[in-house]
Structure formats: structure tokens, C-alpha cells
Amino acid sequence: MEGVSYQRFPKIKIREVKDDYMKFELRETDASMANALRRVMIAEVPTIAIDLVEIEVNSSVLNDEFIAHRLGLIPLTSERAMSMRFSRDCDACDGDGQCEFCSVEFHLRAKCLTDQTLDVTSKDLYSSDHTVVPVDFSDSAGYDVPEQRGIIIVKLRRGQELRLRAIARKGIGKDHAKWSPAATVTFMYEPEIHINEDLMETLTSEEKRSWVESSPTKVFEFNHETQQVAVVDAEAYTYDEEVIKKAEAMGKPGLVEIHAKEDSFIFTVETTGAIKASQLVLNAIEVLKQKLDSVRLSEDTVEADDQFGELGAHLRGG
């Protein structure tokens, strides 16, 4: 039975790409593949996040562990993460996570000397590696007040001070959500909507309008000039079946037929800014490949089974 392959050749069509957002269609594969990709994007694509904090001075109103937690949740640019080492299997530093292969050091020093409240933000974090810095949101969003940028860590009053050293490490979302590069990753089945035109013609204009309005999302449209009902946005359908129930209530079952295409998916990917959305998808494919590669049977298992097979044949009188 060698040479037989059950491989599939999925198709991809990208609809929209931005730095931290993308939408694409995935076709000719099944839900298990779509869901595996979604799960890997959320929990297994590595990023870099602050993991160890040494506080020198903290006279702010927030306690040390509270600040350490807030620092951990700040997204850091993580293009490097795929090629970095996990500090637990780094040979260069015995896994204590303080070398260039597996960690990045940050420093923060802030003291309030005026009567005005001082905002300590992610902009005050100084990185030892210019490729790993807190994510900058100022250019992507429309609102950029020059002062109010970065993520606020703590606010200081006169005389209060914060001084600390932090180590950022590579990790995955499965370990702690701070390492997840995904803000949201969702997929939906592509709906296929067929209106029974003959049955539709038996409705009055008023009935058509009320049927169109029974959908909680704008899937159908009633054209006042032609008095026709048409599908305007099939993907707005949320599988709520309201229009089907409405048709039944009107005594017109089968007015519309809606199927979920079981081999077509529409993905929406949004990232925290740690990596680009397109890179997240590519990294997810790569990580899934590595996972599958790691579950291959080892040579000794195969050999052990061969011997067992011969022994078994002996016992069976072979």
C-alpha cells in the first residue's frame, strides 16, 4: 500500500491585511485543520514577555507583585521569538535565563519630583535589545496625543519612586496568557443561502419586509422598486435560524435553505501587536508542523515492534 496518499491541497484567499489584523478564506480542508490552526495561534505561537522582575525601589501605591504582573502583560515586539531559545533548554546560561539567546533585559527608573502626577508607561522601559521593545500603538490608531502614549504601568505622586530590572523571556500562551500573540482568532463556516424564489413570490410586499427584518443581522435586503428579496451579505448570518423560524411561523417552510459549507472557513485574526497578523498565521503553520514532527514514532519503537511481531508469529505457530 505504499505510494497511496490521502493528502489534501487547501486553497487560501486573503481578503484583508493590516499589521495587526487579517481576514482570509481557507478552503478544501476540514474543521480539524482549521481548529488546529486556531488553537496553535492562540496558545502555541511563541512571543517574548517580561517574566522575572527585580524591584530595587518601589514606593508607589501598587505593591511589587502587582507591578510585576502588569509588566508581564505588556506586549513586546517578538519577531525574534521563533529563533530564540526557551530559557529552560538554553545551554549557554544553564536555564537561569540571563543570556542573549534566551532573554532580554529591561530597566525602568522613574521618580516624581513635581506636584503633578507622573504616569509611568511602557515608554519608560529601556530594553537591552532594540528589536525587543514595548509595542508602539501610536501610529496605527488615529488618536495620538503626544504625551498620552504607551501603556500605563503605575502613577506616581511627589516623592514616589520606582526602580526595577526585568528579564523578558520566550514563552507560549499555554504557559501563561501574557505570551499569547493573539487578541482574537476566529473562524466560521461559509454559509450557502438559497432563497426559494417561487415560494417568495407568494408573499406580499409587507410579508417580505417583515421576513427580511426578522434576521438579527443584515443578511437579506428588500428592494422597494423591484419588490424583490435578495441576499446582500451571506457572511453576516450567525446561524441563529431566526429567518427559518420566521418562515415557518408565516406558514412558508422551506422559504430559505441555509447550509454551512463544511470545507470552507473564513478566518479573522487579530494580534496584540507582538507579531504581525500574517506572520502569526505563518508561525502557526510552522509550529503545527514541528508538533506533528515531534509525535513521529522513534526508531527503537519500530524495532521493538518488529521483534515483537516475529515473536507473535512464532507463538501463533508461524
Binding site: 490521502y6 493528502q7 485543520m33 481548529n35 508542523k289 508538533k291 509525535v295 519503537t301
Partner: protein, 116 residues
């Protein structure tokens, strides 16, 4: 207090095999594969891929307990194949599918960035 460490979920303990194979003693061409530190992500794609194989009579997986970080994949095949053969075939096919997916995605991205 007695919660397992977070890394327990994805770090294979030293001295344990990632995948162990156990033949069924009663049925010919049936076997269980115990995969350490994996979950539905791998279990489900593997199962669905095995279902595409005509020689596979049964393929299923279970996660025995949420705090036992392993899955058990059970495969039963027709006599001209073997569970091990089917397992390897499924992994190879999935690997090739992902290669194809990666190329398709990169090609689409190239097309998209040229459009600007």
C-alpha cells in the same frame, strides 16, 4: 498549593517517551499510541486524517483526564495495512498539507502586498 506546575502541560518529563506504541493483544492490526504532552490540537487532526485512509477501520483519540497531559490514539486497520503504517502515513500527509498551505499563504501574501 498542590496545583501542578504550568510547564507540566508541555514539557515531556525526562526519561519518558513522547510517543509509545502498544499493540492490542486480542485484535490483529489494532494498536494504541500514547502521546505525551499533546492535546486536541494534534489528536483531532490526526484522527480526521486517519479517517481519510481506506485501510483504517477505526481511528479515535481521547484525552483521559484534563490533568493527565497526554492523549491516546487508537487505530484499527484492515489486514493489508498496519496501525503503525497508517499512523506514519497520516503524519506524512498532514506534513505535506501544511507545506502546501504555507506556500499557498506566502503566494497570496506576495500577491496582496504587490497590490498596494
Amino acid at each position: 498549593m498542590n496545583a501542578p506546575d504550568r510547564y507540566e502541560r508541555f514539557v515531556v518529563p525526562e526519561g519518558t517517551k513522547k510517543v509509545s506504541y502498544e499493540r492490542d493483544t486480542k485484535i490483529i492490526n489494532a494498536a494504541s499510541f500514547t502521546i505525551e504532552r499533546e492535546d486536541h490540537t494534534v489528536g483531532n487532526i490526526l484522527r480526521m486524517q486517519l479517517h481519510r485512509d481506506d485501510n483504517v477501520l477505526f481511528a479515535g483519540y481521547k484525552l483521559p483526564h484534563p490533568l493527565q497531559y497526554k492523549i491516546i490514539v487508537r487505530i484499527h486497520t484492515a489486514s493489508q495495512s498496519s496501525p503503525m503504517q497508517a499512523y506514519n502515513q497520516a503524519l506524512n500527509d498532514l506534513d505535506k498539507e501544511l507545506d502546501h498551505l504555507k506556500n499557498a499563504f506566502e503566494a497570496e501574501m506576495a500577491k496582496h502586498s504587490r497590490a498596494y
